[in-house]
């Protein structure tokens, strides 16, 4: 009886892990506009736009140099924006998203393409069904990479949340770390987290247990641990708790098959 219950719980976890991905994938495909069969792909090229830009291009993408205001864009093709002053809401059905500099908040979704943001002054929320996500610098970032490519966040000032199947590289540069610094979840990749040298943090790593043969997770740290502990959450998760520099901000890592590399940047606070 006990064994049956245990298996049921494991199956429940498996369903939870696989279920949302497929639901999100199918629903977003159905909701997008498509161009007429006779139309020809036409990228819209704009040098400069003042005010609120609300546009939809059903037969191509956008190539925009400057938007002096907020924007709400939907495109069937790739989108390149060199600079935008206001908040940006953007969806592409196919192709890459490239943003040079965004002074407002960014909420972007790429159904099948990469997302590349050079500089974002405020919060960035990204969703990519497949492909890679690269953010060179941003105040804070939230990434959902649904089918899962790699996510590289190379300079984050405040906090980050990432959920993907692939590898995660996250570089946090903060002088005033918030209570919840980052939540990084990878199903099949490695998690590499760079932190300022003197940051205090409590790191919790959740590893789901499964019926597959014994796995190994390599956890390498540049930081000395002031505490380290392991415990089980029922028979579902192994939880490793590590504390660096006496503890402080919370870091949560979910990992299934990859390794964890905790690296120190030269910055200190």
């Amino acid at each position: 009886m006990l064994r049956i219950r245990k298996r049921a719980r494991i199956l429940l976890v498996a369903a939870f892990l696989t279920g949302p991905s497929s639901v999100l994938f199918s629903s977003s495909i159905g909701g997008q506009p498509v161009g007429s069969k006779d139309s020809v792909s036409k990228d819209i090229t704009i040098k400069s736009y003042k005010g609120f830009m609300k546009e939809e291009n059903r037969s191509g993408g956008f190539l925009i140099e400057d938007i002096f205001g907020p924007a709400d864009l939907k495109a069937a093709g790739p989108v390149k924006i060199k600079r935008i002053e206001g908040d940006l809401k953007l969806t592409t059905r196919i192709g890459d998203i490239e943003i040079g500099e965004a002074k407002g908040q960014v909420a972007a979704t790429a159904e099948s393409g990469n997302i590349n943001i050079n500089k974002a002054h405020k919060h960035v929320s990204l969703s990519a069904e497949m492909g890679e996500v690269i953010v060179q610098s941003a105040k804070s970032v939230d990434v959902k990479n649904i089918l899962g490519g790699d996510v590289k966040l190379l300079g984050i000032e405040e906090y980050s949340t990432v959920a993907t199947r692939g590898n995660i590289l996250c570089v946090i540069n903060t002088n005033t770390p918030p209570t919840n610094l980052c939540t990084l979840s990878s199903k099949e990749g490695d998690v590499t987290l760079y932190l300022p040298k003197r940051i205090g943090a409590d790191i919790e790593i959740w590893v789901p247990l499964s019926k597959e043969p014994q796995r190994e997770i390599h956890f390498e740290s540049d930081f000395p641990f002031t505490k380290f502990d392991q415990r089980y959450q029922a028979d579902l998760f192994l939880i490793l708790s590590a504390q660096i520099n006496g503890g402080g901000s919370k870091i949560h890592i979910d990992i299934e098959r990859g390794n964890i590399y905790l690296r120190s940047t030269q910055a200190s606070h």
């Binding site: 792909s41 191509g60 089918l147 490519g149 692939g166 490695d190 390599h218 505490k227 380290f228």
Partner: protein, 228 residues
């Protein structure tokens, strides 16, 4: 019947209590193990300068911990597979590890993370014909569309080569994933010639995705104007 002295009676009471205590202890251990089958199997291995297993509170230096995640299936736990071997490729693609990387790319096995990292490592060496072949193999045969797209993306820098361009045209025609087809199309657009033109005429008729079909048509029209 001779009555037993009082100390003998107490002796028996103590023996019974001791047996009960040991029984209770063993039962509690058994219950804990049943509740958490992994507990007994979990192990941590630390490398120098850590002071060693079961002495984790005394960490004072940096280093490496290997956490062995137990299986909930006891039988499966007996099979000790060192999956970590998949993840040990780091650094430059030197002449020593390059053949190993190529071999692994040509193999059907290997995790997503491993293949993704391998492509990152070999990317700068895409002008090496053997690496091109391995990338083409991944672009055509890999089951994971994200890895196929990544391989196609890396081939961009050598797309002017005929073998690479043919592989990209093949992906444009035959890949089941629209993201991979579109990425191939974007790269081919920069390397258009008469052969690509003929194949793209077929793509225009066959393609089910509106965005890809429309873009293909636009590329064909631009090419016609260019050669006219």
């Amino acid at each position: 019947m001779i009555p037993k002295p009082i100390f003998v009676q107490w002796f028996f009471v103590l023996i019974i209590m001791a047996i009960g205590g040991i029984g209770g202890f063993l039962y509690s251990k058994y219950s804990a193990a049943s509740k958490n089958p992994g507990a007994a199997l979990a192990s941590l291995e630390t490398s120098s300068p850590f002071s060693g297993e079961n002495d984790l509170a005394s960490f004072s230096e940096t280093g490496k911990i290997i956490v062995r995640i137990p299986s909930t299936d006891r039988a499966a736990s007996q099979v000790n597979i060192a999956r970590s071997a998949d993840f040990k490729i780091q650094g430059e693609a030197t002449s020593i590890i390059k053949p190993l990387l190529i071999q692994s790319m040509l193999s059907d096995s290997g995790s997503y993370a491993f293949k993704s990292k391998t492509i990152d490592i070999v990317g700068p060496y895409a002008d090496d014909p053997k690496i091109q072949d391995a990338l083409i193999h991944l672009a055509k045969n890999e089951k994971d569309p994200i890895i196929r797209m990544k391989a196609v993306t890396v081939l961009d820098k050598v797309a002017s080569l005929e073998s690479v361009r043919d592989a990209l045209l093949d992906r444009l025609m035959n890949d089941e994933n629209k993201g991979v087809r579109f990425k191939a199309l974007e790269i081919i657009e920069k390397n258009m010639d008469s052969k690509a033109f003929l194949i793209m005429e077929k793509v225009k008729e066959k393609e089910i995705d509106d965005s890809i079909r429309n873009r293909t048509q636009a590329i064909l029209e631009n090419y016609r104007k260019k050669i006219a």
